[in-house]
């Protein structure tokens, strides 16, 4: 891809300390454990994986809402890894976040107008035509009635609240948005609307997006490229079509085999790979390849050597024995 790289994440780790009273060893939860990827302008990168694999933490760490433990985040050519609050503030207009839970994302004591105008106020931006006009045209853009300017969040449905959250995120025309499972709290018909809205906004404004989700069909629909995470590590990353049709990593295969088919006949013949065992604890992940405890192809090498991401066919895979 020749397009400009807007975000470059290298070896990003985020470890949360946990207190262990018995032995004084410092235990850490390795929520994100060395992920690397580049994001191009206008591109959507889907981030998938099961619950607890570190998707959300990855998203928040990239935005520096939590401090990374190590690694580097380069945003528009600037290494922002070590940026403190003050230096981040001006950059915050360029990078935004959309939340999973629309019920917790809006302050119940503020009107919609106040919520959506907060970015202008905080960043000290004076849009042409006044803040109120800007807010109302944003509301129109995300499909809300601008007359509802003075209403409170509790008067809106989940889908509408998510639109409010989106309006707030795009208010300052950011170049990069982390969408943290923006549709998983909504019902299916609303999901489609919100996804299409995001798709349109992204195309119109040329926003780059990291789209975190665990619904594989949603990710397939919206993403240009997809990264599959497991226990804080990227297992496989590649263009959506390649990853969905010719994946190489056993975990990706297992994950994709779990997607139900809408056609009953192909659903019957669908081959499912059922993984045995549970997700290992991120406090004490398996040595070598973190997937070795549940992989049907695991060999001795997988238990000792950490596989690196290597280009294979259309995707990059971290596996000693890719398919």
């Amino acid at each position: 891809m020749s397009k400009e790289i807007i975000l470059s994440v290298t070896d990003l780790t985020k470890h949360f300390p946990v207190k262990k009273s018995k032995d004084r060893k410092k235990a850490v939860v390795k929520a994100v454990d060395g992920i690397s990827f580049d994001l191009h302008a206008g591109e959507t990168l889907g981030l998938v994986g099961e619950s607890g694999c570190g998707k959300t933490t990855a998203g928040r760490t990239i935005l520096k809402l939590t401090e990374p433990t190590s690694g580097s985040i380069v945003f528009e050519g600037q290494d922002i890894t070590k940026f403190k609050h003050g230096k981040m503030t001006s950059l915050r207009a360029q990078m935004q976040i959309i939340f999973q839970d629309p019920y917790s994302a809006l302050n119940p004591r503020q009107t919609i107008g106040k919520i959506i105008s907060a970015p202008f106020e905080i960043q000290g931006v004076n849009p042409t035509g006044g803040v109120k006009n800007a807010v109302q045209s944003l509301m129109e853009r995300v499909g809300l009635n601008p007359e509802h300017y003075n209403r409170y969040p509790h008067e809106f449905s989940g889908g509408q609240r998510q639109r409010i959250g989106i309006a707030r995120a795009i208010a300052l025309k950011p170049r990069f948005i982390v969408a943290d499972e923006p549709v998983s709290a909504l019902d299916v018909s609303i999901q489609a609307q919100v996804i299409n809205l995001l798709d349109d906004l992204q195309r119109e404004d040329g926003i780059s997006m990291v789209f975190i989700a665990h619904d594989l069909s949603v990710v397939q629909h919206i993403s240009d490229r997809v990264a599959v995470m497991y226990l804080g590590k990227v297992m496989e990353i590649g263009p959506t079509a390649n990853l969905y049709h010719s994946s190489h990593h056993p975990y990706t295969k297992a994950l994709l085999s779990a997607v139900p088919q809408p056609d009953p006949r192909s659903e019957k013949s669908r081959e499912r790979i059922i993984l045995s065992g549970d997700l290992p604890s991120p406090i004490n992940p398996p040595s070598g390849c973190v997937f070795n405890t549940r992989c049907w192809k695991a060999q001795d090498k997988c238990r000792t050597e950490v596989p690196q991401l290597v280009q294979l066919g259309g995707t990059q895979v971290a596996c000693h024995f890719p398919e």
Binding site: S104, A118, Q136, N150, Y152
Partner: protein, 322 residues
């Protein structure tokens, strides 16, 4: 097309959402007990506030000694403690002062102590609670241990023991004399032992609020800490603050009465509920009406304020307006 947009913009003032406050108010209005209690509380509070005017209208005076209507042992001639058109609640035995006037004037002192104490302990509790809940970690830990330390004190005995020396000290510094010094002492120590309760409540609220996504959203927009605290968090703790304030006010009213009863509060001839009660307790066998009226009025006030607090808590239920 443009005109239709224009007109819709114009009519937008007509579409006004109901704010959480309006919803709480409409819920409060539906609670009959709460409304009645609120009317009683406000009536009593304003009666006490406008005591001089009320007394003038009723033609009673708190300081006049009506010795002519007392018998030789100091008990009013008329039955039921001398209740008559001139003295609606009767007279105080011994001095012959008008009981209603004394109650009205006395309640001013009691309300003043209770309101001042609630206000100061709530202000301190709000401040400390927000700091602890927002900054968490070491800050929160040290604040938490300090509040535990204060809560572990036997507050009642401390106040009893410190009363005399501290009041003397206040008087010797010349800040205030006599009853003012005693009021300062009471408000100070009741607040000193009262704020940890508030601070714990506020801290717990802030702890859960600051994990909500709207706080992260504000941080993601580059908001300063002061903005997050003042604009995002603070408006969300007003509801519990109002509730605990209305519930603790009657508690402090009663506390003031207790300390005055024990002779540690305001001294006669000034009067408060506690002083009147302690006076009445000496006449409880010969003139029960004095005790019943004084204690009854305190019970009514405390009960009314508590019921208002309960109604407010129901109306401001945080789960009902997220």
């Amino acid at each position: 097309m443009t005109t239709s947009v224009e007109t819709s913009r114009d009519s937008e003032a007509g579409i006004q959402g109901r704010s959480p406050r309006q919803i709480a108010w409409s819920r409060f209005k539906r609670n009959k007990v709460g409304v009645i209690a609120a009317v009683i509380s406000i009536t009593l509070l304003s009666l006490s506030l406008f005591a001089p005017i009320v007394c003038k209208i009723l033609g009673i005076d708190p300081d006049t000694l009506n010795l002519d209507v007392l018998n030789t042992s100091g008990i009013p001639d008329l039955p039921n403690g001398g209740i008559s058109a001139d003295h609606p609640l009767g007279l105080i035995p011994g001095t012959g002062r008008d009981l209603l006037a004394q109650l009205l004037y006395g309640s001013r002192m009691s309300f003043m102590v209770a309101i001042l104490t609630t206000f100061t302990s709530l202000t301190i509790g709000l401040f400390v609670g927000i700091i602890g809940g927002y900054f968490r970690g070491r800050v929160d830990n040290s604040i938490g241990r300090f509040t535990d330390f204060i809560l572990a004190f036997p507050a009642f005995f401390m106040i009893v023991a410190l009363s005399e020396p501290v009041v003397k000290r206040i008087e010797s510094t010349g800040i205030a004399q006599g009853n003012s010094a005693r009021i300062i002492f009471l408000v100070f120590f009741l607040s000193f032992f009262g704020w940890p309760g508030f601070s714990r409540l506020i801290r717990s609220q802030i702890l859960s609020l600051r994990e909500r996504d709207f706080v992260t959203a504000a941080e993601a927009m580059g908001a300063k800490r002061s903005r997050v605290i003042l604009k995002e968090l603070l408006p969300n703790v007003w509801a519990p603050v109002i509730v605990v304030a209305s519930l603790s006010l009657p508690g402090y009213l009663a506390a003031e009465a207790v300390f005055s009863f024990l002779g540690l509060g305001v001294q006669p001839p000034a009067s408060t509920w506690g002083i009147l009660l302690s006076n009445a307790s000496r006449y409880v066998t010969v003139m029960p009406s004095f005790f019943l009226i004084t204690a009854g009025s305190l019970v009514i006030v405390v009960l009314a304020f508590n019921l208002v607090g309960d109604a407010l808590r129901d109306a401001l239920d945080p789960r009902a307006d997220r």
